[in-house]
């Protein structure tokens, strides 16, 4: 631990746990997210069927006892595909948010602490990035560097950087003139230390909420890129690809679109609930009120 920060007491963790369990949206969100992550993990070791095995005889089956979510036009088991697809979708979104946060938050905090020319350059640059529709630019990047999951991650990640930089900068700017920051400066702390000890904990809730929003947008973006054939490449399934393939079968096998669509909706919902709940649970003002 750095100087000045005192590690939370055990007591605090108990408070945290109790508050977290009492928060309905946190609990619901956590259960849904845990379920999705668990399914993704399970798919590494076991799926009901092999997702690359084509059984043309069983194609376009509606949900049955042997194929819970039915089969697609190649006779692949949709449940297995959704399970494997969750890996791609979650990995892409998670890493993209990670890239955005890791680069954006320090940049935003730095701009807020420095102000002046550095701030102007950074913010105008992010304006330029914002000026391009994100999905269009992602299409452009993947078109140049070739389609694939890795390039999709990078493309989505780059567009997350200015989002987090802006949120971090805005939050930090509002905090800098506050008296407790002045007090910390009077205690001889430099901009870096103040940012780590005072600014970040106070903007964490903003970043967290933005993080869950960007995560769900990331899943949608991956689905979008895969849908136009620039994301995950066949035969690897992803939710977006499954939707794309379902498009032509909509009238004869609607379950092909409904299942991956529901998977996206449930995951995004779970993440949003989790983010909302976390924000409340982490707020010390709400933590001790009875």
């Amino acid at each position: 631990m750095t100087t000045g920060l005192v590690a939370p007491e055990h007591e605090d963790w108990r408070h945290f746990a109790r508050k977290a369990l009492a928060n309905r949206s946190f609990l619901t969100g956590a259960v849904i997210t845990a379920f999705v992550v668990a399914v993704a993990l399970v798919s590494f070791v076991w799926t009901p069927y092999d997702v690359t095995k084509l059984v043309i005889a069983d194609r376009l089956q509606a949900p049955t006892a042997s194929h819970w979510f039915g089969t697609d036009h190649f006779g692949r088991d949709i449940l297995s595909m959704v399970m494997v697809g969750s890996r791609n979708s979650i990995a892409v979104a998670l890493i993209a948010v990670g890239i955005g946060m890791a680069a954006g938050v320090p940049l935003g905090c730095w701009a807020a602490a420095k102000r002046g020319v550095a701030d102007e350059i950074l913010m105008r640059t992010s304006d330029i990035i914002f000026a391009f529709p994100a999905l269009l630019s992602a299409v452009m990047i993947t078109a140049i560097f070739g389609p694939g999951a890795v390039n999709a991650i990078i493309a989505i990640g780059i567009f997350n950087i200015p989002v987090f930089a802006r949120v971090a900068r805005g939050g930090a700017l509002a905090l800098w003139p506050r008296e407790f920051i002045l007090a910390a400066r009077a205690a001889g702390k430099g901009a870096g230390l103040i940012t780590v000890q005072h600014i970040l904990p106070n903007i964490a809730n903003l970043l967290l909420v933005q993080g869950t929003i960007q995560f769900s947008l990331g899943i949608l973006a991956e689905a979008g890129l895969s849908y136009v054939g620039l994301g995950t490449q066949p035969p690897a399934p992803s939710w977006g690809r499954m939707l794309f393939e379902a498009q032509t079968m909509m009238s004869i096998a609607p379950h092909m679109a409904i299942v991956p669509g529901m998977a996206i909706i449930i995951t995004v919902l779970g993440l949003n609930l989790l983010g909302d709940g976390l924000r409340d649970v982490l707020d010390p003002k709400l933590r001790r009120e009875h």
Binding site: G4, R178, Q197, K285
Partner: protein, 546 residues
């Protein structure tokens, strides 16, 4: 004399939120042209009374009793009717002129808005009326066009706009909730004078809410004193304040004129070593842009200030808001650098040192801010905040020693060691100010700069905090620089005083000498404007006699 049907007649009003009682059986009447002072400390239910009259209470609130406005029972009336009354027949002035105005709307628009809404007047008519009322409150169009935005006005001018909005339609009742608490004494006196004139002109009733008996003593015909939602004492102002029959009234009166027991008060130990020295210190801010390359004249926030503070001395820096006090304080604390001049602290010229060399100086000087709510990181425990300045101590401090130092500091300011595990929001304003003082003394500094340390506190809490400052000066020999516009604070707790005006020091000397025999107009103006309970009572008595 007495008008038979009062403007406002509150009978047996009780308000509760959930199971928590907020007001208990409150009775209060206001006649036409009468000013009634509602006095109490924070949490006593003053503002809740005002909100009840406006029917702006939170939804969860339950009310009982009767509340008559010109014979009409407001508790039973519809929301539509209340919308007609609010801003038309009942006006309200809030405490914080910064937040009571919409920052993106021009002042003329904001005043005219209510007129158009209530009277269905055309834009031109409404603007005409807005122009007249703004002129009446002292903002003539020649100098303050209707197209000004709130941020272009000072705090006092903004409060005038708020009053103009409240009085634009000649209300029968004006509710002013701490209308001058956010202003300095000179502006306070001006705003109170304006309210007094408006009451006389329009024959309206004024409910003046304040925590300061001194303010109310000068203004109100009758006073109601509230505590924990219950009326403690009530009656004609002169009688209430002269007799002080009720123990709580007495306690409030004593607290507002409190002078702490202070051993070092008389003996400022002259000849002690020099602690802080300012030589011709100036701070200019670049003027606002006039064009692409042209800038206006620089603003001279601090202009050639020289003075010194000796070890163990307590010095007051007084002046109106905007005179440069806070800019000066920031330079002394090395949070800002002077444009010219030198600041020397314990032989180190802090104004030219780098952040690393400043550490030794910072360790010896600390700060207490005005706002006990803003000066703590809401996400950090008290232990983390209070021990923050230990960062300056060069040697490594173990977690255990850190905790011991925090315990010691908390005990010194009268708090419990167990408080260190709590978060700032769990404490009241007075407690937080104690914690801020604990943070300031944890490194055993030689100088503590206090920027309006008690002006946000209730009178009884203020008295306790002043006692604490006196005790710490006695025990630790710490020197103070008190930045304040409150002369009672200066008188109570300082040896010397510096009077500042427009960035310059205009008068210096022993506090008692300067305040008893002021030599400059600035000091005289401050003294004349300062609310003084004793003086107000005497003035009232002579007025009655004559």
């Amino acid at each position: 004399m007495i008008v038979p049907s009062p403007v406002l007649d509150i009978r047996g009003l009780s308000v509760s939120i959930g199971t928590k009682p907020i007001l208990k059986d409150v009775n209060l009447t206001i006649a036409n042209g009468e000013t009634v002072g509602l006095v109490g400390e924070s949490g006593s239910g003053k503002s809740m009374t005002a909100l009840t009259v406006m029917r702006l209470l939170p939804h969860a609130a339950g009310t009982s009793g009767r509340l008559f406005f010109r014979g009409e029972d407001l508790l039973g009336t519809s929301e539509e009717r209340m919308c007609q009354l609010r801003g038309d027949e009942i006006g309200m002035v809030f405490q914080e002129p910064m937040t009571a105005l919409n920052p993106v709307k021009m002042i003329g628009e904001q005043v005219a808005e209510g007129i158009r809404w209530h009277r269905g007047a055309s834009r031109a008519e409404a603007e005409d009326r807005a122009r007249r009322i703004l002129e009446r409150v002292g903002l003539p169009e020649s100098r303050f066009p209707l197209t000004r935005y709130p941020h272009e006005l000072s705090g006092g001018q903004r409060q005038r706009v708020v009053i103009a909005m409240a009085c634009a339609l000649d209300p029968k009742l004006l509710i002013a909730d701490e209308p001058t608490t956010a202003l300095d004494v000179v502006l306070q006196a001006q705003i109170l004078e304006l309210l007094r004139e408006l009451v006389a002109e329009n024959d309206m009733g004024l409910l003046l809410i304040s925590h300061d008996l001194g303010v109310v003593a000068d203004m109100a015909d009758r006073i109601t004193i509230l505590r924990h939602g219950e009326v403690q004492d009530e009656g004609e102002t002169t009688r209430i304040l002269r007799e002080q029959k009720h123990p709580y009234t007495r306690k409030l009166a004593e607290a507002s004129t409190h002078v702490p027991v202070w051993e070092n008060a008389a003996v400022p130990n002259d000849g002690k070593q020099e602690l802080l020295k300012l030589t011709e210190v100036s701070r200019h801010f670049p003027g606002s842009r006039r064009g692409l390359f042209a800038r206006g004249e620089p603003v001279r926030a601090v202009d050639g200030v020289s003075f010194e503070v000796k070890a163990g001395h307590s010095v007051a820096l007084v002046g109106q808001s905007g005179c440069g006090k806070s800019t000066l304080a920031r330079m002394i604390l090395a949070l800002d650098r002077p444009t010219a001049g030198a600041i020397t602290f314990r032989g180190m010229e802090t104004s030219s040192l780098g952040e690393h060399e400043l550490r030794a100086a910072r360790c010896e000087m600390q700060v207490v801010f005005q706002d006990p709510y803003g000066s703590f990181d809401p996400r950090q425990t008290i232990e983390g905040s209070v021990t923050e300045p230990l960062h300056l101590v060069d040697k490594r401090i173990s977690r255990r020693e850190r905790r011991e130092r925090a315990t010691e500091a908390l005990v010194e300011v009268g708090m419990q060691p167990a408080d260190m595990h709590k978060y700032p929001h769990e404490f009241s304003g007075g407690q937080r100010q104690r914690l801020a003082i604990a943070r300031a003394i944890i490194t055993r500094p030689k100088l503590v700069v206090c920027d309006e340390p008690v002006s946000a506190l209730d009178v009884s809490i203020r008295a306790q905090i002043l006692d604490l400052f006196a005790k710490l000066n006695d025990d630790l020999g710490v020197a103070y620089l008190f930045i304040t516009h409150d002369l009672t604070v200066a008188r109570a707790i300082t040896h010397d005083v510096l009077v500042m005006d427009h960035g310059r020091i205009v008068e210096t000397g022993r506090t008692a000498d300067v305040l008893d025999a002021p030599k400059t107009d600035t000091t005289r103006r401050l003294l004349a404007a300062a609310p003084d309970l004793q003086r107000a009572i005497e003035r009232r008595s002579t007025a009655l006699g004559g």
